[in-house]
């Protein structure tokens, strides 16, 4: 893996500096729905919807700007590269305004200011403040303000994590005693997981901003003006209050110390929907609720696999025909294609199609790029499968066909090809099953398919095993109808084509 990653980085540096014009009538905004409440996440009741206070903010902003907001899913790590690939115009997803990031992108004025909060297991009453953490193991998100603050106290044994949830799980398992996390996460997580509780005063200060490309000065101004409007009109406050996120920092920031105006409806909605169920039956019910999302993702994986396989089957046929009947030049080209494509990793091919093609002006949607990448990769394999099928048909069949006045092409198409089906179906079924599994690779080019959705849900509901089993089961199930179909075809063909005595 390491080598591919290094290669990716090289490619990225080559490819990224290209920017694309933005469409004025829509506001394409990106976030990672595999995130946590309350930022941007899947509606626990209607998992096809994404909700979150940032979603509300973007809606309100676009209304003021007069543009239609279009959501673009992207991995959190890739939010900034995606900006420069031109996939969207702004990124908003709890992006803390830091000096490092400012070098890469422009930030809008903060739309939310918050702080850190200590979370402990309920009943751990010996921790009440930052100073109580001395000599203890404390968890924090890697490279976050929380980590920096904790490291500053020498006596604290800091343990860093990729995601907050991992810290909470470790705390439950007794490996750490407390965690220092962003307040919104602390609020929402403790509310839905009563075994945890927040303690102590707010610590530090975090400002979230909207990230834009350096060159989009005009859009930055527009966004900042719209943000000012949101602040002025009280809409921002309303959104934050609905999500129960209004705090003293915001009071100071907006210079608005009036009493609360809206009730935290959305907060309540979330709490009620997600609150940890203790019964097995309720967990099953929860899984049933996920089902539509899983099924939708499975459908995407399926559609992706089907279309890719279709492409592979068609392109493979052409390659096989080129190789068998295309003469020297076409035959050589076909062999070259087959050996190069089979010889190099799919991951790199996908990455080239998605990130390098735009450099020569071909910018593909992730879905199309995924289909082309998978399809043309598998085409090399299918070409060989076809060839074996063609070789299995006695030459007499071809001769009979051409002696009946068919052109070689007609003979192959009408007479030979249908007879190869029987021989090519089993290996093609093999390849289709491999393809379904390989399709999870396309998440590197921002496609959201089954594996990606699994990661989103598992991290949103803090349930890896159950959802993991569902996902594994779905993958297995995805292949089955086609195995059945293939078997059915085989049986039918076997009846029709019993070798004549």
């Amino acid at each position: 893996m390491k080598n591919t990653i290094v290669l990716f980085i090289c490619l990225h540096l080559i490819v990224c500096p290209i920017a694309f014009g933005q469409n004025e009538k829509t506001l394409r905004w990106a976030a990672d729905a595999e995130g946590n409440a309350p930022y941007i996440f899947q509606d626990p009741r209607i998992p096809t919807e994404i909700i979150g206070f940032e979603v509300d903010i973007v809606r309100a902003l676009s209304e003021i700007i007069g543009a239609k907001p279009v959501f673009v899913q992207n991995q959190w790590d890739g939010l900034i590269p995606g900006l420069y690939r031109g996939d969207y115009d702004i990124a908003i997803n709890g992006l803390e305004i830091t000096e490092d990031r400012k070098k890469e992108v422009n930030f809008s004025n903060p739309y939310y200011i918050t702080y850190l909060q200590i979370v402990v297991l309920r009943g751990v009453d010996y921790i009440q403040s930052l100073s109580d953490l001395s000599g203890r193991k404390v968890g924090a998100l890697k490279n976050s303000l929380a980590e920096r603050i904790l490291r500053a106290k020498e006596e604290i044994n800091v343990v860093t994590y990729e995601g907050e949830v991992n810290a909470f799980v470790d705390m439950k398992n007794g490996r750490i005693e407390a965690a220092l996390v962003d307040a919104p996460i602390a609020l929402y997580y403790t509310a839905t997981n009563p075994e945890f509780t927040m303690v102590g005063e707010p610590i530090g200060e975090i400002s979230y901003g909207i990230a834009l490309r350096k060159e989009d000065i005009r859009l930055l101004e527009k966004i900042n003006r719209a943000l000012d409007e949101l602040k002025r009109s009280g809409k921002l406050r309303q959104i934050l209050e609905e999500w129960n996120l209004w705090n003293n920092k915001m009071e100071v920031y907006l210079d608005d110390f009036s009493v609360s105006k809206s009730s935290p409806e959305k907060y309540r909605y979330f709490i009620q929907s997600v609150s940890k169920r203790e019964h097995f039956a309720e967990r099953i019910e929860l899984y049933f609720k996920f089902m539509p999302v899983f099924l939708k993702a499975a459908l995407i994986t399926l559609g992706l696999s089907l279309l890719s396989m279709l492409l592979a089957i068609l392109a493979g046929l052409i390659l096989a025909l080129m190789r068998l009947y295309g003469g020297k030049v076409l035959g050589f080209l076909s062999v070259l294609y087959i050996e190069i494509i089979r010889g190099t990793p799919l991951l790199i091919q996908l990455y080239l199609i998605f990130y390098a093609l735009p450099a020569i002006g071909v910018k593909l949607s992730p879905f199309l790029a995924a289909i082309l990448g998978l399809g043309f990769n598998y085409a090399a394999y299918e070409a060989e499968v076809y060839r074996s099928g063609f070789l299995s048909i006695p030459r007499g069949q071809f001769e009979a066909a051409i002696s009946l006045g068919m052109t070689p092409f007609q003979a192959i198409w009408h007479i030979i090809l249908p007879q190869t089906f029987r021989v090519v179906i089993p290996p093609m079924t093999n390849d289709f099953i491999s393809l379904i599994k390989d399709s999870s690779l396309v998440s590197v080019i921002t496609m959201i398919e089954l594996t990606k959705v699994y990661n989103q849900i598992a991290s949103a509901y803090y349930d890896y095993l159950g959802t993991g089993l569902i996902t594994a089961g779905l993958y297995l199930l995805l292949g089955l109808p086609f195995i059945r179909l293939a078997r059915h075809f085989e049986k039918r063909l076997a009846i029709e084509t019993k070798p004549s005595k």
Partner: protein
Amino acid sequence: MNVILEIKNLTRSIGSTKILKNISLSVQQGELISIIGRSGCGKTSLLRCINCLDAFDEGYLRVGEIVIERGRNCNHRNKNNNESYNVKAYHIRLKVGMLFQTLNLFPNRTVLENITIAPIIVKKEPKEKAIATALELLCKVGLKGFENRYPYQLSGGQSQRVAIARALALNPDIMLYDEPTSALDPELVGEVLNVMKDLDCEGMTQIVVTHAMNFAKTASDYVIYMEQGEIIEMDTPEKIFYNPSDKRTESYVRLFKE
């Protein structure tokens, strides 16, 4: 009269063995020619060359107006004209129909489809017309009611008759039959013979490789006797069977007069 098929000095070798040597032949439209000879003498090979399934090494082949010439003197030209060879071969095959010794029925298609597929694809006949022709032909070869069977459901003789019907369905100018009655009982041999005679009357040119001497004797306008890749003699049946001019022919036909 109209010479529809003309062959001059045709030679074909596989490796170092010549399997066709210096074949010359001319057939007029509407004739029925029989080819006889020992097993392995090159009868099938000759038919395959006429139908351009195998390329000959040297010689001249004309079918209708289409001429293919190959050989040492025109080797160079032909290499560049490979494309044109394929095109010519295609046009020859359009005019010539062939019944294979191994039949080569399409195993994944029914009897009816086997017969109609070429007319529909090649001649762009409407489906109904192709089916009507096919049913008529099946009736003629005594296979009424077999149209929906697959080849594996047929007996040897039935398969052979389907293959005959398939080749005839295209109504070619020239028909080549490679042992068309080998798997048929004497009764059916008679029927197939009648079919051929009808076609003869309709003016189709037919070349039949056969081991049935009676058939050669009674039905054909001319008989060709081959031996070891050569045409030894070509003449009327009476001459070949009763008054051959070559000794080798004589010794062969004597064998089964005894």
